[in-house]
């Protein structure tokens, strides 16, 4: 009697069952190297499609946000900015330089350049 014949019998039975379940031989498997990946494309897991779709939506959203139209009316700065210095009308904001019609350096000028206002 063949040694381990009990195990051989078990495996032979399993082998017959597996062979019956085996897919039929397809000659394309050994002919076309490009067909199989295209066929498997539909078998990609759903999460890959979902991640791809979410990335596309995020890209489109950020592109739209960056290129959104800028409002045409520029704001009125006088009203928009706060008032820093508050001066009354009687008191000048800055010290007066005391400019008069004739400056102290006028005497240095040649005579023909000295303009005398009426």
């Amino acid at each position: 009697m063949k040694p381990d014949s009990d195990l051989h019998d078990h495996f032979a039975q399993l082998r017959r069952a597996d062979h019956a379940a085996a897919p039929a031989w397809n000659p394309r498997w050994t002919q076309s190297a490009t067909l199989a990946p295209r066929e498997r494309l539909s078998q990609l897991p759903v999460w890959r499609w979902a991640v791809g779709a979410m990335a596309a939506v995020a890209l489109t959203g950020s592109a739209l946000w960056l290129h959104r139209p800028v409002s045409q009316a520029s704001p009125d700065l006088a009203q928009a900015l706060p008032e820093f210095f508050n001066s009354s009308a009687s008191e000048p904001l800055f010290a007066d330089l005391g400019l008069t019609d004739t400056q102290p350096s006028d005497a240095l000028l040649p005579l023909h350049l000295t303009i005398a206002l009426p």
């Binding site: 195990l7 078990h10 039975q13 399993l14 597996d18 085996a22 050994t30 002919q31 999460w47």
Partner: protein
């Protein structure tokens, strides 16, 4: 691909499917995917038979490697959320063969598959290659990429364990 190689692949196809099925823990659709990927590798020239071993040994090594690659990809795809959900619901992955396939098997074959799924991987692999595929232990060692001594050790231990699993009533009379 050369005509001769294609003919050899066609001849080996049923056994190759059985081996792919074993590498995929009895999952029919995964086994078909693995086998198609292996054919694609051969057709595109990614793997080539060098003649260093027998054609069957080489081809089974390719299928085993492809199944391992597919397994790693599948594990990567499994999101953390899915793992947490399965842990929460207690719906862990069953190492025993696919139920759809098991229905088609007779009781004896189903018992064998259940027993094989309870053995360590290496032991189940070497037993499948020797008893199912009729390979020599040396050829099985090449397919499994282990030394002959290691393959023999897995073979002897696996055989003893498998026998004890297949005949539980003899060893444990009180167990049903």
């Amino acid at each position: 691909m050369e005509r001769e190689t294609a003919d050899q692949l066609e001849t080996l196809h049923p056994d190759a499917f059985g081996w792919a099925l074993h590498c995929c823990s009895g999952d029919l659709s995964r086994a078909e995917d693995v086998l198609q990927n292996a054919y694609l590798k051969a057709a595109s020239g990614q793997v080539q038979f060098s003649g260093a071993s027998s054609f069957k040994t080489w081809w089974f090594g390719v299928i085993r490697l492809t199944a391992l690659e597919e397994f790693r990809k599948q594990r990567y795809r499994d999101s953390l959320l899915a793992k947490l959900w399965s842990r929460w619901t207690g719906d862990s992955t069953d190492p025993s063969p696919n139920p759809a396939h098991r229905v088609e098997l007779d009781e004896r074959s189903a018992a064998l598959q259940r027993a094989l799924s309870r053995l360590p991987n290496r032991q189940a692999e070497v037993l499948h290659l020797v008893f199912y595929q009729d390979l020599h232990l040396r050829e099985a060692a090449i397919v499994m990429k282990v030394s002959l001594g290691s393959a023999r050790q897995h073979y002897e231990r696996g055989k003893a364990k498998l026998r004890s699993l297949l005949t539980p009533s003899l060893e444990n009379p009180h167990e049903t």
